[in-house]
């Protein structure tokens, strides 16, 4: 009976979503207070039912209720409890339920933190959230019900994909989805603003913290996925340009552009129509990612059990959601005012440049990801687009992003004197050039231009921001001034600095690991040693080791440097009982400046094994960079401005006519 409760809860949530999508919106047009006020209770109701539904599914896994098809397919009595929980979102149906649940959670967050927003705005935003929710709940109920039953009841479940039986991957999807779904808030705010015709700085101010929070989740989620791929796939790689990874990177890039564009819109009222478009695209790309992963249109490592019928449904959903919102945009955007003017050399210009580059990067990922499909459809031949193409494109374009970052963050709004920029950045530029050139010397990279470029750029990002901070603190009294600044209104500024330092770390990590990483495929007998980058790997043999639901071959390696033992690595090769495919667990000795990495290959008989040994310099910096970016984002939203903004907004809660009418629009954008 219990699974049916989960099913009914879904149906009830759908009913509430339908009311939520219609009534508050209608109320905002007819100015019916009670209809608009309904939006909040409806959202809480939806969250209640979806929580119930998710809890029911989790309970079914914990109780090994194999009469539920989804549990029979992905659960197992021997599965550790942690993975029984993560199995809830381990496959298609359940992960969609997680989507719907998180959407309700974000909606509830809006309901909670929007006390000071004008009620019509809240009503419209929550109505749009309701519309999205309808799409997902219908998708769940019509094509992917996780509560479907089966008879006769199987005695045992087919178990969660072993690849997903890992603590890192247990929390990766929720974080990633928090990011995807989070962009729905900026989307909803934009649609509400387009509907209401009130697109102004306060719209930007409200959207900004929400966008940043979603972006933080997405950043950390992507980094976690990358880290997981690194230690779980046994290939020592951290990014594979797989369609599913691409599907997460596109919204991230557009989301990053959106954050920066929102800053301009909030501070200067400029780029409004562009910012709205980015908000629409960030969420549209999240939806598109869902489509690509689940429709079977592309081949991918992660692909969920793909089903064309579901593909048709999602495509219809995309057409309504994305097509509808872009249609609304085409209708309303011509009347958006242009906002403040600015000079050719100004922060606005550099931020626009950043937006352009980020958008082109997202566009090229879309092109590369869809190219096999496009080529097939156009009958231009069958091609594959893999990491070499993506790497070339990114290496070509991203350096400009790093260059702009240093110039943009120090420029002033509206107008900056070229001489000011030169004066401020001269030293930083020279230091970076010299540093980059130094790395080309024979004792360092010996003329490896990629290393020179990467290190020079990283140094540029660091030094230009140092100059920036120094300039800011010039008029504040030293370290105490810094502390006061940090506790006051400077947090979004220091958040920006922190996140940009993350970018510098990322550049260092990528440059070092791609140019100085060493990998060796080797056959070893027990007692053999191998030497990599001055580290000695001594293979002591492989023993069998039973796990809860798998058997492992566990290798033992002694790592020493200069005759001194520094680590013992225990890489595993696991064979899971139910899904018999072998899985690798790399043995890693991690460090800030290098990882030593061993992945067990195949048994070659007589105690011999093939293995892969890696030396990965600075690879941790890639993920630490993501933590920096995430912390930077969190610091930024803790800025006093957003707390006071809420109070201030309530006092100006009348619906300003702004530029909502065609007559008022004298667009200069």
């Amino acid at each position: 009976m219990i699974p049916e409760i989960g099913h009914y809860a879904l149906i009830l949530a759908l009913s509430l979503a339908i009311i939520q999508a219609i009534v508050p919106l209608a109320g905002s047009y007819t100015n019916t207070h009670s209809w608009m006020a309904l939006s909040r209770p409806l959202v809480w109701g939806q969250l209640l039912f979806l929580t119930l539904s998710t809890a029911v599914l989790a309970n079914a896994f914990l109780a090994n209720d194999f009469s539920v098809i989804y549990v029979a397919q992905h659960g197992n009595t021997k599965l550790p409890d942690l993975y029984k929980i993560s199995a809830v979102w381990g496959a298609h149906e359940g992960s969609l339920l997680l989507w719907a649940f998180l959407l309700a959670a974000w909606s509830a967050a809006i309901a909670l933190f929007s006390r000071n927003l004008p009620l019509p705005v809240v009503a419209r935003v929550l109505s749009v959230m309701g519309m999205i929710s309808i799409g997902f709940l219908l998708f769940l109920l019509l094509t992917s019900n996780p509560f479907d039953r089966t008879f006769p009841v199987p005695f045992e479940g087919r178990e969660l994909n072993p690849m997903l039986q890992d603590p890192g991957l247990a929390i990766h999807p929720p974080l990633l989805y928090m990011g995807y779904v989070g962009f729905s808030v900026a989307f909803a705010f934009s649609i509400a603003a387009l509907l209401g015709g009130k697109l102004d700085a306060s719209w930007a101010r409200w959207s900004r913290p929400w966008t940043t929070v979603a972006w933080v989740f997405l950043t950390v989620g992507i980094a976690l996925g990358s880290w997981w791929a690194y230690y779980e796939l046994g290939w020592g790689g951290w990014w594979f340009w797989d369609p599913v990874e691409n599907a997460s990177l596109m919204p991230w890039l557009i989301g990053t552009a959106l954050m920066h564009s929102l800053a301009v819109t909030e501070k200067r009222g400029a780029f409004k129509s562009w910012t709205v478009l980015l908000a629409l695209f960030a969420f549209s790309l999240s939806l598109l990612g869902t489509f690509l992963v689940r429709s079977g249109v592309l081949t991918s490592v992660h692909s969920f059990a793909s089903d064309p019928e579901r593909g048709v449904f999602i495509l219809a959903f995309l057409l309504i959601a994305i097509g509808g919102s872009l249609l609304l945009y085409a209708w309303r955007a011509p009347y958006i005012s242009g906002g403040g003017r600015f000079d050719l050399i100004s922060r606005e210009t550099f931020l626009l440049g950043n937006n352009l580059l980020l958008s082109v990067l997202a566009g090229l990922i879309l092109l590369g990801t869809l190219a096999p499909l496009i080529y097939d459809a156009m009958e231009w031949g069958k091609i594959s687009v893999g990491f070499p193409w993506f790497n070339k494109m990114f290496v070509l374009l991203t350096p400009f992003l790093a260059l702009l970052m240093g110039v943009g963050s120090i420029s002033r709004w509206k107008h900056t004197d070229a001489s000011f920029l030169v004066k401020q950045l001269k030293v930083a530029f020279i230091i970076s050039m010299v540093f980059g050139l130094l790395t080309l010397l024979p004792m360092f990279s010996g003329g490896n231009l990629m290393v020179g470029l990467g290190m020079g750029l990283a140094m540029w990002v660091v030094t230009s921001h140092l100059v920036n901070v120094k300039e800011r603190l010039k008029h504040k009294a030293g370290f105490n001034g810094f502390l006061r600044d940090l506790s006051g209104g400077g947090r979004s500024y220091y958040g920006m600095i922190l996140a940009h330092m993350g970018v510098a770390m990322f550049i260092v990590g990528v440059t070092m690991v791609s140019n100085y990483g060493i990998e060796q495929d080797i056959r070893m007998s027990p007692g053999d040693t191998a030497d990599i980058a001055g580290y000695e790997f001594k293979f002591e043999g492989v023993s069998e080791f039973p796990g809860p639901n798998y058997n492992a071959h566990r290798g033992r390696f002694l790592i020493s440097k200069d005759g001194k033992q520094i680590a013992i690595l225990l890489p595993e090769k696991r064979t899971y009982f139910v899904q018999t495919r072998p899985m690798t667990e790399a043995g890693i000795d991690w460090g800030l400046t290098r990882d030593l990495y061993v992945s067990l290959g195949e048994s070659l008989g007589g105690g011999d094994w093939s293995m892969r040994l890696y030396y990965k310099p600075y690879i941790r910096w890639i993920w630490i960079a993501a933590i920096f970016m995430g912390l930077g984002g969190l610091l930024a939203i803790s800025d006093r401005r957003y707390r006071t903004a809420r109070k201030r907004a309530s006092s100006t809660s009348t619906l300003a006519a702004g530029s909502s009418t065609p007559a008022a629009a004298e667009s200069h954008s």
Binding site: G340, P388, D521, S610
Partner: protein
Amino acid sequence: MFVRIFLLSLFFLISVTPLSAATLADYTFEDAQKAADFRNVIEEMRCLVCQNESLAGSNAELAVDLRNEIFDMMTAGQDKDDVIQFMVARYGDFVLYDPPMKPSTYPLWFGPLFLLLIGAVLLIRALRKKSVAQETELSDNEQQRLDTLLKQPSDSKDAKK
């Protein structure tokens, strides 16, 4: 639709062909450059059986055979280009993760740059307008809005009409 699901499941069956002990450890070259070339070329080729893996990463029997074939070719003195030619003649461009540069792939290779160019042109045009706009006389409405903006830079919003 059924046909496709059926086919996909068959492909899955195909991939369960007998595995052989696959390791790159046994491919040794005298010349370090050759070894690196070999490694690169098999990493940049798609395994045809389990299509999400490279030739270097796959344990499928066909991948092992192809690796052996490529190894033999390279030890016999042929270079990376010969290997690519050999593979493309048999499996088409599909086998290459790095799409070849030829007229049909121009959209792929130059598309992003074209996109950047269009974006840059639009950007510069918009910037010109923005900076020129300042020199033209402002309408009352705009002047008022500008005043508001200048007065309250952190709380700027469109002025009421």
